[in-house]
Symmetry: D2
Subunit: 391 residues, 4 copies
């Protein structure tokens, strides 16, 4: 392969028809791709600054409709059609099956139990003693630090600063409330301002990096699971034994035993999710609704918990401890993304907790569907019938 030309950019308007066409032309010339479909889109490239650079065209990701999903939330109340963007066969059908089951059981109860977004600077000192002393100083000057941080943002609010010490460092987590935005950029900017204030006012020697790997953005981590990143949401349902038998063709005690055994398996395997496949529903909803899909890394972390009740009914809960969602900013305002948020009645200001609840309910429905299928041994068959199982 010979040397490739640089990608052309138009400094006056890089989202103009010409700029985009120039890049498409470049790709067609130098690769085997015609870009027929990538170049076919209805969105207005003029809406893209701030979301993409070197715009070339679009990925068309098919959306299937699941539901109705019956949610008994504090923000999401009633029935919803759920748009899922995926290319994995059986996914939409399986989630729909779970939604039907849960609706028959009276719907899924959802609760947002926490909400916070982080940036996590680390501060470096000559020795542990200075580090510890800085930690105390930081606690004492919390109000000033918060003021410096909050001066950079209209809607963000500094909730608290966690400290974790090791060697001659203090790792922190600056926890913010961020409203309807996911808030990573907002917290980055606010924390940077806070650090600048600290640097200026701390009487001792001090260095810092704006990120000490405690955030932990786009990664799964124990600290995120313990202390929440984004929304912490719980979805719960109690399924009558007879209903499960009828719709899922398994008994609740078999379902429960499989969870028990699977829980130990997950613990041994060192999972970030002792449930089954939260990532499927979350990813499909993230792509559809314009979330930062890379956040699936942490958002798919989950705590599953089930109980077999004395009467044989089955209580199931899923807790998403680090679900990062927005209904404002990021990709939420783009053409199809906004429309999918509108399908859910979540677009714009005030929608984010509702969206979080719908996602958690969707995930729980999917857990129950797959969990039942594995026990009922219908699983391989389902993929064979609906999925591209071409060995």
């Amino acid at each position: 392969m010979s040397s490739l030309p640089r990608i052309p950019r138009d400094r006056s308007d890089d989202y103009s028809e010409g700029a985009v066409a120039a890049r498409q032309q470049l790709v067609r010339e130098h690769t085997g791709s015609a870009l027929e479909h990538v170049a076919s889109y209805s969105l207005d490239p003029g809406t893209l600054p701030g979301n993409i650079e070197n715009f070339l065209g679009v990925a068309q990701v098919p959306i299937g409709l699941a539901g109705p999903l019956l949610v008994d939330g504090e923000h999401a109340r009633g029935e919803f059609y759920v748009p899922l963007a995926t290319t994995e066969g059986t996914l939409v059908a399986s989630y729909s099956r779970g939604m039907k089951l849960c609706a028959a059981a009276g719907g899924i109860r959802t609760t947002v139990v926490d909400d916070r977004m982080q940036r996590a600077p680390v501060f470096l000192f000559p020795s542990a003693r200075e580090a510890r002393d800085f930690g105390r100083w930081l606690t004492e000057h919390h109000d000033d630090v918060a003021a410096a941080a909050e001066a950079t943002t209209r809607s963000g609010r500094l909730l608290d600063i966690q400290q974790f010490s090791a060697a001659r460092m203090i790792y922190t987590r600056f926890n913010f409330a961020t409203g309807d935005a996911a808030g990573q950029n907002m917290t980055g900017k606010a924390t940077f301002a806070a650090c600048a204030w600290i640097k200026q006012n701390y009487p001792g020697e001090l260095n810092f990096y704006l990120e000490g790997q405690f955030a932990t953005d786009k990664k799964s981590s124990m600290v995120n699971m313990l202390h929440t990143r984004g929304k912490r949401v719980v979805a719960e349902v109690t399924l009558p034994a007879a209903l499960v038998e009828e719709q899922m063709h398994v008994s609740t005690d078999k379902l429960f035993r499989a969870r028990l055994v699977g829980n130990l398996g997950g613990f041994m395997a060192g999972v970030n999710n002792n449930g089954l496949h939260s990532a499927n529903g979350i990813t499909a909803l993230f792509i559809a609704t314009g979330q930062d899909v890379a956040n699936v890394a942490e958002s798919s972390a989950a705590y599953g918990f089930s109980e077999l009740l004395p009467n044989g009914d089955y209580y199931a809960a899923i807790t998403l401890p680090s679900l990062i969602v927005a209904t404002y900013g990021g990709g939420t305002g783009l053409a199809t993304q906004r429309e999918c948020l509108e399908v859910l009645g979540c677009y714009g200001t005030g929608g984010v907790l509702k969206l979080a609840e719908i996602i958690a309910a969707t995930v729980l429905a999917g857990e129950l569907s797959l969990g039942s299928a594995v026990v009922a041994e219908e699983w391989v068959q389902a993929h064979d019938d609906l999925g591209r199982n071409r060995p």
Copy 2:
């Protein structure tokens, strides 16, 4: 919200214009969404069976072009334009910046070091003693089990069966080579056949679930990181100190110290990735090229490793231990997805290791770009200039 109608399905052809329109009409009627853009697509719905159910339309995810990326791999050799589908501002620009840096250093060396896909049945017994004895029997009958598994597939091959015991269970991982497919369905079917053979031939009492949470599909886990799921790929580069100073405006020793401190932070935080943001590049490439994006959960796991060489040059490596990719099957054949694979010269049979190498190289470029920005304190500024930073 009143009760919503069931989603209409057309049993004769659920991907027909009429069937799709009926669903769109339903959504328009019952929600606030016009679905103008969701309903605008160039892909042929007739290609969708096996990829989506209840097809409604598409998500249009903007693609930006990064590169050229210079790869010195065993399968990917030379320069590539890299299509990244994302809505996160600065992402494409940042990856491009890293690619430029690495190209100036002679390119990124990539190596696929392992390749295997799992299904993980768990076997249950009356007590630990029977479980242990079954484990021995399974080892002794490996060839028969493999034959039963491989009878279900043209291209899959059973590499080995790992055993993990606890209480009265034997958890296993059936490890398969799966060619150019990601292979989850193939391994599911083959393992199910193997289990059927085992159930029929094992002389003792035995129960099993096809999945004991050791796979661990769509989850991050220690076992996947230790033992590979999908491709295990390493990308490496050695950056001259002067080059880093010139292009990234940081010294390599500052860069290195930040990694050192960040590494401890990540270890403390309990991350599945001691690098920075592999999920960004992987997700953007997964959406663009039709991968199962939910696999970002495990694919984004990473081991970063850097050394400051005696002459001040900077060795950086990223290891992706559980990168799940395909160039055949799944969403890879859909309209825009196939085109993006063609941009990379990876579509179809024989392309999968090349794709794995390109992804790993992309990730490494992104690590170096962000890592430098954090140290140079350019990071917040970059997001302010390019991203939707509207607090």
Copy 3:
């Protein structure tokens, strides 16, 4: 083996000569053991109530003397002889070697950065919503809860209550300052009283277990490492390059590279300690000084951190995030245990932070000794010369 008699107990005084002799006689009769040495002890059995039941005799664990250890702490200042109780050959010699090295470098700087002990009740509710609301109520009633807890103890103080939610539970950590006692019993009693107050005063339905596995007593855990259990202590030293070369026969850059590679290894392996062998020094000191040796499980967790300074000198730090020690209560007042605490000048009130610093310094010395030996390939040889290497 025929059925064995019950172990005799003397309800009037089970620590009397007769009661002890009766048990020894039983063992001699029914097993092959003469108990000659077990029955030989100088301690007064009358001191044992509260420390042991069914007293039979003693284990004689040999103590070796290491040091002098030069400590530059806030509580431990100057030189110390360190009594190490162990049966592992080379251990005392190796720690002594490290102590000598560190003394030549000016001593080990130690800092206690945190101090807290936990009991961790979990509260259970009908659903997540009630759980969350209880969490808020608990925060609002903190002062009352603290008062109820502190009424049970002279020296304990409730620092804060951490909450971790999942499903319909609120897991908590009640964090106490416990003075010179390790404090597990004190916190148990105080937390129980707090829970009783909560149960009585909370207006809603509520169940609780006094321990929800978040303490996490006698276990290693991320939460203990992140949030401290017992003392969080850092020991640091900067070693001149020439000194390391002279005494340890390795260059500091080789030493550093081995740490770098070992760190990644530990991260991959999923360790609770990215150092080398903190458990050796801690266990030997715990046995000698009457600590609860089972706490080695969490106390041996460690964060190692090293830097190669621009001039080639070597900065090394060890952080013990969950070191559980006491100089009062438990086994600290027993015959040999008290004497060993006196050797360190730590017995009784006011000694606990001093002891924590001495332990951390000891651990660091051991890290540097073993770390050097592994790189210098002297390690196998040392064990062959000093240890019982009888293959």
Copy 4:
């Protein structure tokens, strides 16, 4: 504190009365300790070379007798009195209570399911490609490597070599069978010989450290828990509901629910042990029987698993995945240690699997006792009555 003299050593016989007395004298002079009890011992210092350096005296750790413990093992069969060395009040009584319960239920079934000890060299290369190729070479030359390793030992046998790759390194685990010795030294020496052979015969460039932190000696780790270090032992019992109610004053369904809730707590907290307090029994037995007590760090890792059977009976199992024990070598031959092994009928050749089974059974008994007490709320009371609860 003025500068302390060096610790005197007698090069001709450092275990002579004079040498020991000289050190005692030094300590008495320079510290506040009389060493009356430390200097009182019945063991013969002439037995100590290979176990301790700078011998000063002994720690007298009180031993309590628990039991009888009824074991239905493959190596341990029948009833045992169990010597527990501890200073934690209530420990012996609590374990005895659990043993009584389990004996009434027919005894504890034990099974050793795996047995292996490691040394874990890491090999370093110019790039990942050479690392991977070395990995293949190592597999191909397994027999030669094994021969080189086994030439250094009479009883050790190389079972297999696991490989874990990252960046330009291959981390390995050399797994050995080590007979009745714990085997750390044996495996160290054998692996060093293997590495020497590799270094001599590998045709390419190669560096190695004998330990790459994958062993992971004296640390808890996922890799040890997954792949066994020392003995992997399971202890199981099925408790009739009525028996539990009668002896423990709890119903089995309450007991089970507490486990369920505790399991999730442990998973969230990131424990290495989802049981309760294995470290207590293990440590007490380790001190009594001359094990390397620092190995409590990994030996106390545990997988608890319980099921509530349809008839209300309670199945409980504990799996110790990395129990490091010996009945030969190390401290097992010392005076009191040997006697305690004799109490168990485990001293010397052929006893190690029996000892492993007794330890696992002891641990399970302790789990059931404490687990019941927590639910029955007797726990705080027990510590108050028996333990040194002096707040």
